[in-house]
Amino acid sequence: MLPHILESAKLFYPELALTIAFCFVILAGLVTRNRIFTGLAGMAGVLAALYFVSVQAPVDGTAFSDMLAVDGFSRFFKIVILAATFIVQLFSLQSAELKSRAMGTAEYNALLTALALGMCLMAGASNMLMMYLALELTSITSYLLAGYTREAEDSAEAALKYVIYGAVASGMMLYGISIVYGLTGALDIYSVNQALGSGQVNLWTLILAGILITVGFGYKISAVPFHFWTPDVYEGAPVTITALLSVASKAAGFAMMIRFFRVTFADLIMGGQETGAWAMLGGFEWNEVLAVLAVLSMTLGNLVALWQNNLKRLLAYSSIAHAGYMLLGVVTMSPEGVSAVMIYFVVYLFMNLGAFYVVMLVADKTGSEEMSAYAGLGQRSPFIGVAMTIFLLSLTGIPPTAGFVGKLYIFSALIGAKMIGLVVIGALNSVVSLYYYVRILKNMFLKDAAPGGAVFGLSVPEVAMLLLLLVPTLLLGLYFGPLVEYAQASVSIFGIPR
């Protein structure tokens, strides 16, 4: 047993680095109240984890008796998650909203590393026990962080709504897990798959269990109809946390969902010999369920975003719509679709964090997140105006920005899987989304600033941060070969013959 644990620990260095950083930051908080010091210590932990992920040998394996899979797929998502966490930690150093709180900054920074740890575990979880635990670690730290500015009424309300929706969703998922366990007698998804493959399972019970488990995933990626918490939490939470939830926890949810559906319900022996697409066990096409979720998420997200006036709330609905586009990639149930989702996440990381960073800057300087605060922003601060324009065009998916590349690969995977109807719905939705993104642009450039609207400059770190997000958003739109190759090389999931 001990040699096995030591062997597994070698695959576990990234998570260990995050754990050590968590303990260090929370202990340092007892000694020092220095916000910058604990922030930097947390960032060092995340950077160390990123380093350990990038130097891992490119072989697939599992750790701790099949609890965690360490493969190309989980490494890719860990890099996305850790990069997003790192960028949000940089935001946190600058955020005026957090500076105003003297208390508990060490706890904030410690919880950020714990959140990163939970999300990394979600990306690799290959046992339903681990899936549940990782989901809860992520969720519980997110509840705390969403309510971090608890003196603000909206932050505490957001946290309460989040904890109620989250607990219900994970309770449903747990009930689904208990049914799957009853049907198959196993918790790790490889044994579950084998038991399902033997064919002595009641299909309707399995469908019920699968749908209950999908509730847990749907809540984490905020897909309609499990999205009700999203707008409220995104609006009420500190901007930094909203930014992190919109990218990293969505990525972790997608990673866990893709692995679960790919391993548990796919026919691993016979499936995909000719086409490369996954064949489903037992004659139930799970991707049709996901297709319904995708279409609902895109359509509802985009339509409701049309009449939002709070930018955080608008971006919340936009993130629901983006979850819909990414679900389309999963619906194809093919390696092309999965690599398209991975490409989309890298692109989404830069453009969405960029948009939230602009929201944070404007909120810090004007004290408002409303659309009216953006009136005349293009004249008051041209650089912010131009940066926001590029982020929003990229979110719409207009070339030559990175968002176009993300959508292109999703749609071409769908065409490869002969799902033309979904391509049409996705394209129509992109057109709808153009309307509300352009509404912000119209406010920034065509409206005059309200009298007394301050002209504000940017400090050097703020310009550097904007450039850090802006350059990849443009560069990945023009030169995306390496990203695509890396994503396509990383679709290997442990236990799946390629």
Partner: protein, 103 residues
């Protein structure tokens, strides 16, 4: 393994508990009662897991139950802490009154 009570009884009780929990979450407006209903949902899953585990002579389910109990305690602690934070601002625990954020 032989169970003195047939497994169907356990599963029926577990299903009733789960449905009671879901109904409680949907119907009650007091945040603390909602948390109690959530506990009921988690415990219904625990009951099902333990029953299956004993029936099949497989320990994995019972181990999961230990973790679920720990997680449920953590979640209840966080949930009640948030309710207290909100009560200090608003002097209410009714979710109907939590309406600053809405479309």
């Amino acid at each position: 393994m032989h169970l003195p009570v047939p497994i169907e009884y356990y599963l029926a009780l577990s299903a009733i508990m789960f449905i009671t929990g879901v109904t409680g979450v949907l119907a009650r407006r007091n945040a603390i009662v909602i948390f109690m209903s959530i506990e009921l949902m988690l415990n219904s899953a625990n009951l099902a897991l333990v029953a299956f585990s004993t029936r099949m002579g497989n320990d994995a389910g019972q181990i999961l139950v230990f973790f679920v109990m720990a997680v449920a305690a953590a979640e209840a602690a966080i949930g009640l802490a948030i309710v207290i934070a909100l009560f200090r601002n608003r002097e209410t625990v009714f979710v109907n009154d939590m309406n600053i954020l809405k479309w």
